[in-house]
Amino acid sequence: MDWKTTRRLVAGRRLVAAGAVGASVLGFVLAGSSSATAGGTIKFGFLNALTGPYAVAGAPELNGIKLAVKDINAAGGVCGSKMALAATADDQGQANLSIVGLRKLVQQDGLQLIVGPGITPPGLADAPLAESLKVWFMEETAQSQPWTGKNYVFSAITPQTVEGQLVFNWMKKKLGPGKHKVAIVYAAVPYAQAGYTQLNQLAKAAGWKVVDADSYDPAGLTFNSQASKVASANPQGLMIWGAATPADAQLLKQIRQAGYKGPAVGDVAFSLPFVPTDAGSAADTITTLSQLNTISPSASTKKFLTEFKAAYKQSATYLPGAAYDAVHILAAAIKRAGCKTDAASVSKAMIGLKYQGVNGPYHYTAKYKGGPSVTSFRYITYKHGQAVYTK
């Protein structure tokens, strides 16, 4: 072969190579700045405890997600595209499994939009990874640490410090001014342990004496020891922080059976439907917080409650409510991003986004990326098994 032919061949190969590189780069750029085009599908992933002891929270949240996708698509989708839950990962409420699950959704399934875990330890573990992978990540944890200072991480649940303050405020109003003796009982899970720490600090700052502070295993068989201690300590007020499991109702029932007759206030876990069912008449003796308005719901909340019950044969709670809202917020953010579906654009569009969800009003800002504001909470109690408002 002469040198002119060789030079032509080499130049040709270089041109082909350059074209291939250019096409790859173009493909990457196009993928990175993908848009929802009419007739396409907007895919997202779900990471949560679908099995194991925390599935009691994760499984209903998945149902909330599915219902949201159905409702959004029935209303025409987002920017002409259908939304689709493309993949799920089960972390069983464990941080290490959650990290693996997040990597699987992003690196294997290729998803940039993830509705994330609902349990605190996975939430804390996943947030830095999600930020480094630059995926839009909407958690369902009641902590502010995961999203503080992050650009890609958000939460659909109000930070529990807001709840803790409301629980304490109710007891303070009930007991009146002065020094009082109180008891605090909390589930042996990180969410409730953090709640106890806050209540303990607030009580001591108010000059109260915590005469009994004890935890309980949400997977335990009986709570008579804890109940007996409360009754023996005879506090003027009792604050309980639950784990959102039926054990919370059993504990309340046994505390009343042990003879404690004073006022009791619990966190939002005591607003779940199994509390009046499992605690019986003891449920009438506790005040708790409620976000999902099941007493006088708005039209959209009523639609959610009715559809959820019909589809899944169980009553909706604030947990699937948060998941339902999370998907709607994603849809709203995509619209706000000019129909762009890449994580960077959607995350940027979250700042300044306001959304009226079934759990209350959401407003995401550069500094606050958590769930509905304090105004979304109401105090409720039970009368003959039915939730009623109280003060």
């Binding site: 099995t51 949400p218 997977a219 068989l221 009986t222 007996s228 059993q250 199994f274 169980q314």
Partner: protein
């Protein structure tokens, strides 16, 4: 009154552990395997019973169906889980039972959901003992445990099948040589253990709810009770279970919850250092 109430609660809790521990005891003495799925079999029994009760099946018939179902399930369990793994040694069989525990605990959630559900009381009302209110349901649990432990003890020590089952576990080759069908004995043992677990599930559910995540807790506590009392002694596991239940209640009322289990297990270690076979277990000699 507080101590009476706690002791009574402890006896009920210990009775629940005893029902599960008896399953451990029966399988260990006859198949020579520690079955870590026993707690989840109890949960399964409670959930099946709840399904039947919700379908308006009378309670007495539900009992019969759950126990009969347990016998059948035990046969399948022995054939599919224990026998194939036991061929490779008892350690492998133990691991297989842990696998069965995971399958069952996840299976419960897939079929019945993750939330524990209320179960109607078998018998309502309560009685006052020493100033403490005792649910009539608790008496049912105590009574059933007393009947079951007597029946199992008599069966293993006095009946032909019982002695054959013990012989099969002690020396399968020798048992086979004298005409005992070792496989059949093991199947019977597994069936009875599964059926007992189903019975336990029905008795426990009105007290602790049906379903949920109590399976591993039950397994751990029942195993602890069995080790404490002596895994080879039927009466011993029951005494161990009752002691554990009462101790948990009394100690739990004095110390923070976080210290209770470490304290209990520390005491268990001390007991085992002094009595390695448990309080009533018999140390076996090879020759």
């Amino acid at each position: 009154m507080q101590y009476i109430s706690l002791t009574i609660s402890g006896i009920t809790l210990g009775s629940i552990y005893a029902l599960v521990a008896l399953g451990f005891n029966l399988v260990f003495r006859t198949v020579d395997v520690l079955d870590f799925a026993q707690g989840d079999k109890v949960v399964l029994g409670g959930l099946v019973a709840l399904t039947l009760v919700n379908d308006h099946v009378p309670l007495a018939l539900t009992f019969v169906i759950v126990m009969a179902g347990g016998l059948l399930a035990g046969v399948l369990y022995q054939m599919l889980v224990v026998r194939p793994s036991l061929r490779r040694g008892p350690d492998v069989a133990i691991v297989a039972t842990v696998g069965a525990l995971l399958v069952m605990s996840s299976g419960h959630v897939l079929i019945w959901g993750a939330t524990a559900q209320p179960f109607p009381a078998i018998i309502g009302g309560s009685v006052r003992i020493g100033g403490a209110e005792v649910d009539a349901q608790d008496f049912v649990v105590w009574g059933v445990v007393a009947v079951v432990v007597t029946a199992v003890t008599l069966f293993l020590s006095r009946s032909r099948y019982g002695k054959a089952m013990l012989a099969s576990a002690a020396d399968p080759m020798a048992a086979g040589a004298v005409g005992i069908d070792v496989r059949q004995m093991r199947v019977i043992a597994a069936s009875v253990a599964f059926s007992l677990a189903g019975l336990a599930g029905m008795l426990i559910a009105p007290i602790t709810l049906a379903g949920g995540t109590v399976g591993p807790t039950l397994t751990l506590k029942a195993f602890t009770a069995a080790i404490l009392g002596g895994l080879t002694s039927t009466g011993g596991v029951v005494v161990g279970a009752l002691l554990l239940g009462i101790f948990e209640m009394l100690v739990g009322a004095q110390v923070p919850f976080a210290y209770r289990d470490p304290l209990i297990f520390a005491i268990l270690i001390v007991v085992l250092l002094v009595r390695p076979s448990g309080l009533f277990g018999v140390r076996e000699r090879l020759a």
